[in-house]
């Protein structure tokens, strides 16, 4: 077993999970001295009727403030400042964030401004500016993937300067994370697939990348097991409440693992594709995940092999010889992608060339691969990947991931000590 020379780990968001979790929110807010939350969400979530459902569930125990639903795909600081203004004018005392990654990041940004009393989020840029306890924040994730309810970061764009500002502080962890199967009920199967594969990539990468530690490992393995046992089933049977609750839990656990142990090249390349081609994060993750494992195999075969117990179940694990386990893990991830592709009538892409934008065009033309590869050096995840990844390497991986062919193992450059 592996024990690092040093590690740190922190996860302190209270989590409530269950079929009636929403009903418990007013009590928990009261415990935090709050009863007038502002709701932050996006139009898709509101149109799906989730906000009405949340209101009904909480009854009239709370004096719910305004609902802000105009969240752009990439959270930006102007929206944050606008919402902070509403919060103050309407004398709110807490925030309920109902949505996916951008809603949650926006809510964290708003909480910085309203709690620390500045005029704009821009006042809090830079390391170590957020060092005080913030106002009560409850996060209700409506996807099964980002895990942002367990992370201490918020990424918020400054559209004028074309930069993404990262805010990092333990105080950005919410006071309450609410996992209720009703929140993911309206998530279409292909989005369930993409977001859960994102969660799977968080768990796998945190398990075999460089900041691996025993506490994160425990969260990662349990998350992987929940996803492998439930994802395909939920995509085929969206009404199975218990299985959906398993996925929501998996996403949160994977969030804990990667918030503390970071992720590697799958996210490095995936973030870069996302920034250039604007494709859904989860799609990139599911496609790149087996490549990340193949690429790091010569350094991490042991850890990747250990994932088989969680991913394939005890029988498969016992039947597979130790030296064949890592390859089996890679094969199982590929097969899961194939199965999800079939179960979603082809909406879940298996290769990069199968990702289409809303206009029905190929989202990542082959001609873009060089540009993507050139830009990978600016993403923080590259530090935590076990093997070095330079633009030439990324280009090689991207070409295979685009076509859907396994890596040519001889082309992987191996160097340095293990």
């Amino acid at each position: 077993m592996f024990m690092p020379d040093f590690y740190d780990f922190c996860s302190r968001a209270k989590t409530i999970s269950g079929e009636n979790a929403l009903e418990k929110i007013p009590g928990h807010l009261a415990g935090l001295n709050a009863n007038r939350p502002l709701i932050i969400t996006d139009k898709g979530v509101e149109d799906a009727g989730l906000i009405d459902m949340v209101r009904d569930a909480m009854g009239d125990e709370l004096q719910i403030g305004p609902v802000y639903n105009n969240i752009p795909v990439d959270s930006d600081y102007k929206v944050v400042d606008e919402i902070a203004g509403i919060y103050s004018r309407e004398s709110c005392d807490s925030i309920l964030a109902v949505g996916g990654g951008s809603v949650i990041d926006t809510a964290k940004g708003v909480n910085i401004v309203v709690s620390l009393g500045g005029g704009s989020l821009l006042d809090y840029q830079g390391a170590g500016k957020v060092r005080k306890r913030l106002n009560p924040l409850a996060i209700l994730p409506t996807t099964t993937g980002t895990g942002s309810e367990m992370t201490l970061v918020a990424v918020i764009a400054d559209p004028d300067r074309h930069v993404k500002m990262g805010f990092v502080s333990y105080f950005l962890l919410p006071d309450l994370a609410v996992l209720d199967p009703r929140l993911t009920k309206t998530l279409p199967p292909f989005l369930t697939a993409a977001t859960a594969m994102d969660a799977l990539s968080h768990a796998c990468e945190s398990y075999y990348c460089m900041e691996k530690n025993p506490l994160s490992d425990a969260f990662a393995l349990r998350a992987i097991r929940a996803i492998s046992e439930n994802l395909l089933h939920v995509v085929k049977n969206p009404d199975d409440t218990q299985a959906r609750l398993e996925l929501a839990n998996a996403s949160t656990m994977a969030g804990v693992a990667f918030s503390n142990s970071m992720v590697g090249m799958v996210h490095n390349i995936g973030h870069t594709i996302g920034a250039i081609c604007h494709v859904p994060h989860g799609n990139c993750m599911s496609i790149l995940m087996p490549y990340g494992m193949e690429y790091n195999l010569h350094r991490r075969a042991g850890y990747i092999g250990e994932l088989l117990f969680a991913l394939g179940g005890p029988e498969t694990y016992a039947q597979t010889r130790k030296n064949e386990r890592p390859e089996k893990v890679i094969a199982l991830v590929r097969r899961l992608n194939e199965d999800l592709h079939d179960a979603t009538d082809g909406k879940h892409p298996r290769f990069l060339k199968e990702i289409y934008n809303p206009q029905g065009e190929q989202a990542i033309p082959k001609s873009m691969l060089s540009e993507i590869a050139r830009n990978i050096m600016a993403d923080g995840a590259r530090m935590y990947n076990p093997e070095e990844l330079l633009p030439d390497d990324a280009r090689m991986v991207l070409e295979h991931a685009w076509e859907g062919t396994p890596l040519d193992r001889r082309k992987i450059k191996k160097g340095g000590k293990k």
Binding site: M377, E388, G415, G416
Partner: protein
């Protein structure tokens, strides 16, 4: 082995806990100081000799200045681009400089590990030994420069410990590699060094 020695330490009586004599600390500090100076000068030299280092600095903003050092209180090395875009090692004083990016290693012990190459820069990042003040992509670019410089500067047996991947001979013709190494050494220890030391005193 390590975990055993750790648990032994835990059972030690606090009053018998071996104290590190101040002398050792001074030696370590001196060693890190000298290494920072060498690496600093080598970065300046590499920015003229190595194409990838040249390119990385070319992409950084005009008059970009950064430091790498040990928190709290140093030692440091400061590197900056001048008006013409030339990369210069500016010495060990932070005072009176506009710094765009600061890389602090959290304490002397960790810095000693990094500069005795017991730990690669990437591993040190993973163990959370760095504090980055500034923009992350720029920090990543600087770490890449340090990796390249270490490959040039150090003998292979040591450089293999310091970086994630030591380039294959096929990728780096030995003639060119040694030529670059000699050029970087020569430039690092040229009379310019005395000038910088003089200016920082």
């Amino acid at each position: 082995m390590k975990s055993i020695s750790k648990s032994v330490n835990k059972t030690l009586n606090i009053s018998r806990y071996p104290e590190i004599p101040p002398g050792t600390k001074l030696i370590k500090k001196g060693y890190v100081f000298v290494m920072l100076l060498i690496v600093g000068r080598a970065i300046e030299a590499a920015s003229k000799v190595d194409q990838s280092v040249k390119k990385i600095f070319g992409d950084l903003p005009e008059r970009f200045t950064f430091y790498l050092g040990v928190a709290p209180g140093g030692p440091y090395m400061v590197i900056g681009k001048d008006k013409q875009g030339n990369v210069k090692y500016l010495g060990w004083n932070l005072y009176g400089r506009k710094i765009d990016l600061g890389l602090d290693i959290k304490n002397l012990e960790s810095a000693f590990k990094v500069f005795t190459f017991q730990e690669s820069t990437a591993q040190a990042f993973a163990y959370d030994r760095f504090i980055v003040e500034g923009n992350l992509p720029q920090a990543l670019a600087v770490v890449r420069v340090i990796d390249i410089v270490e490959i040039h500067l150090l003998p292979k047996v040591i450089a293999r410990l310091a970086v994630k991947r030591y380039p294959k001979w096929s990728e780096l013709s030995p003639v060119k590699k040694h030529l670059n190494r000699v050029r970087i050494y020569l430039k690092s220890f040229s009379p310019g060094l005395i000038k910088v030391i003089y200016r920082n005193l």
